[in-house]
C-alpha cells in the first residue's frame, strides 16, 4: 500500500500569529513555522499502515523553500520520501488553486491512499481532501478517527459531534484524519539523522505544467479585504450580592442571551 500524506507548514498555533499587512496573506516570515498539528496524526497513521501492510510513505508539501524543515520533520518520523512543490508564483494561492496544483503533483507518482489532516490550523477551511477527491475522481472518507485497511477495502470510523459513522470505500481513496486517531510518535535521533539522506523531489509550476496565471494571489477565488487583531480581553463584570445577587446574575445572563 503506497501512501501519500499531505503535509502543510503553518505558523505555530501556540505562538503569536498574524497576517502580512502588505497583501493580507498569512505572515510566515515572522512566525515560528511548524508542521500542521493534524498532519502529524495522518503521518502516524500512514506509518502504521505501512508497518502492517508494507509499501512506501511519501510526504507531499506545497510551500515556500522554508517548508523544507517541515518535510524533514515528517521524514524523521519515518516517511520514506517527499515531494516539495515550490514556486514563487504560488504565493497567496487560494484553496481551489492549491488543490489543482496538489492534484497535478499526485499525478506524478503511483499511490493507493492519500492521508490528510482534516484541517489546517492557519486556513482552517477543511476543504482540501474533498477538493482533491473531486479532482482525482476517487473516494473521500472524511473525518476519520479510525482506519482499517483490508486489501483494497478501507473502513473508516467517521467522527461527528453526535457519535460516529462506519463508512467503507475502495482504494484509491483520500482519508482525512482527526487528532483522535492515534498518538503521533516522536522522531528518533536515528530517524533525524536518516532523514537527511532521504530523497526530496522539488517540483515547480513548470514541472507540473501549471500556468502561473492559474495560481497565486491574482487568481485567488477569495480575497481578504481587511483584518484586525482580536481585541484584548476586557475585565469581567463583578456582581456583588446585596440580597439581589440571583436576580443580578439572571439579568446578566439574559443580557448576554445565555438565558
Amino acid at each position: 500500500m503506497n501512501i501519500v500524506v499531505l503535509v502543510k507548514q503553518v505558523p505555530d498555533s501556540g505562538s503569536e500569529r498574524t497576517l502580512d499587512s502588505t497583501d493580507n496573506t498569512v505572515a510566515r516570515a515572522s512566525a515560528d513555522n511548524v508542521i500542521n498539528e493534524m498532519d502529524e496524526y495522518a503521518i502516524e497513521e500512514a506509518l502504521k499502515v505501512k508497518e502492517a501492510h508494507g509499501g512506501e510513505v511519501t510526504i507531499l508539501t506545497m510551500g515556500p523553500d522554508s517548508a523544507t524543515d517541515t518535510i524533514r520533520k515528517a521524514l524523521s518520523m519515518g516517511a520514506d520520501k517527499a515531494i516539495h512543490v515550490t514556486d514563487p508564483a504560488l504565493h497567496g494561492s487560494c484553496v481551489i488553486a492549491t488543490s489543482a496544483v496538489l492534484a497535478k503533483a499526485l499525478g506524478t507518482i503511483e499511490w493507493d491512499l492519500v492521508l490528510s489532516g482534516a484541517q489546517s490550523t492557519d486556513g482552517g477551511l477543511t476543504m482540501m481532501p474533498a477538493l482533491l477527491a473531486e479532482r482525482l475522481g476517487v473516494a473521500h472518507l472524511s473525518g476519520a478517527r479510525k482506519l482499517t485497511v483490508d486489501g483494497s477495502k478501507l473502513t473508516v470510523e467517521r467522527q461527528t459531534d453526535g457519535g460516529y459513522w462506519t463508512i467503507e470505500g475502495q482504494t484509491p481513496a483520500i482519508v482525512s484524519t482527526w487528532d483522535t486517531m492515534n498518538e503521533p510518535r516522536y522522531p528518533s535521533f536515528k530517524g533525524i539523522m536518516a532523514a537527511k539522506s532521504k530523497p526530496v523531489t522539488t517540483l515547480s509550476l513548470a514541472d507540473l505544467g501549471v500556468d502561473e496565471s492559474e495560481v497565486g494571489l491574482g487568481a485567488a477565488t477569495s480575497t481578504v479585504l481587511e483584518f484586525a487583531s482580536r481585541p484584548p480581553k476586557s475585565e469581567g463584570e463583578q456582581v456583588n450580592d446585596e440580597g439581589d445577587g440571583a436576580a443580578k446574575l439572571a439579568d446578566f445572563l439574559a443580557s448576554k442571551k445565555f438565558v
Binding site: Y186, P187, S188, F189, K190, G191
Partner: protein, 394 residues
Amino acid sequence: MPVSRTLPSDDARALLDLTVDLADRELRPRVSADEKAARFPRDVFATLGRSGLLGLPYPEEFGGGAQTYEVYLQVVEELAAAWLAVGLGVSVHTLSAFPVASFGTDQQKQEFLPGMVGGELLGAYCLSETVSGSDAAALVTSAVRAGDDYRIRGTKAWVTHGGVADYYNVFLRTGGSGAGGISTVLVDAATPGITPQPPEHKMGMSSSPTSQIVFDDAVVSTSRLLGEEGQGFRIALAALDGGRLGIAACAVGLAQAALDYAVAYAQERKQFGQAILDFQGLSFMLTDMATQVAAARALYLDAARRRDAGQPYGPQAAMAKLFATDMVMRVTIDAVQVLGGAGYVEDHPAERWMREAKVLQIVEGTNQVQRLVIARSLSGRRAATSGPRLSHST
C-alpha cells in the same frame, strides 16, 4: 529561555532540539504530580528509549547513538532541567551499560549491549552497602563460585531504580578483603533470590525509587562476570568518573531551571510600583546565579571534552561535580528567596528544586570524596581515576 549552546554538529543540534521537545511535552506537564505521588515514570523512559536517548554515548553497531560525552551530557542537562529524577535516571541508566561496553567480552557486548542501549531495558548499579558508602572497597556482599555459577549473598543499599530496573551491575566480593577482592557481575532483576526492598522515603526525587536490594543465594552464571575477578573496583571507579559528569550536568540543568523561574517571577512580581527585578539588590542575586550556572556548565563541558579526546579527566570530573552540585544548592536556595513566600509553598516548584538539589552533593561520591580525589591529583599521587581507598587498589 532556551540555553544558548555551542554544539559540534547539526546532528547534535537536532538531538538537543528533540530533547527540548520531549522535555516540554512529555516531562514538564507531569513532573509535579508524579513527584508528589512518588510515581516512577517508566513510560517516560520508554518514550526516551524509542527516541534513542538511552544509549547516546555507545557505538551504533550495538544500537547506540555514537555521541560524544560533550553532547550526551547536554541532553542529560536538558532533561534534568525539566525533571531531575529523569535526567539523573538517564545518567544512571547510561552508566549501567558502561561495564559491559568497556570491560565486557565481544560475546557479552553482542548479547547484552543492544538491550541496554536500545531503550527497551532499564539498568542500575549496586555498589553501596549500609556499612560501605564512601568506603566502597569495604563492601561485604559476596559471590561464591559453585561450578559455573556464582551464589550471591548480601544486601546492597541506595540503589537508584531499585525494584524497577531490568538488570543490576552488582559489585561484590569474590576474593579477599580490600579493593582487589571485588568483582562486577551483571544480574537480571528477575533472578530468583533477589528481593528489592520498599523504596526509601527521600527528601526529594520521590518519583525515582531508591531501595535496598537483598541477594539471598541468588544464582548467576559466571559468564555474567564483567572483566576479570578482582577488577570490580577499577570498573566502579572508572564508571564513577563518567557518572560524576552526569551528576554535574544534572546540577546545571536543575540550576538553570531555578534561575529561569526566578527571573520570570522577578519580572512579573511588582512591589513599590515596579518589577522586583528592577531592584538592584535582587537583580544582583540573579546575575550571580546566572554566572555560577554558566561557570559550572563550562567546567563539566571541559571535563567531557577531555574524556572525548581520550585524555585523563578524573580530577576534572570531580571538580565539575563538586562545583556544580554546590552551585545548584546555592542557586536553588536563592531561587526560593527571590520568590519569597511563594518560593516556600508547593504551588511553585522552587521548594521542590531546593529539596532535590541536596542529593546531588551526596550521590556518585559525596563532595568530601570529590575533594579527596582532587587533592590526590594535586599532590600527584594518582592522576586519572582515583577513589578514596587507593591503598587497596591494584
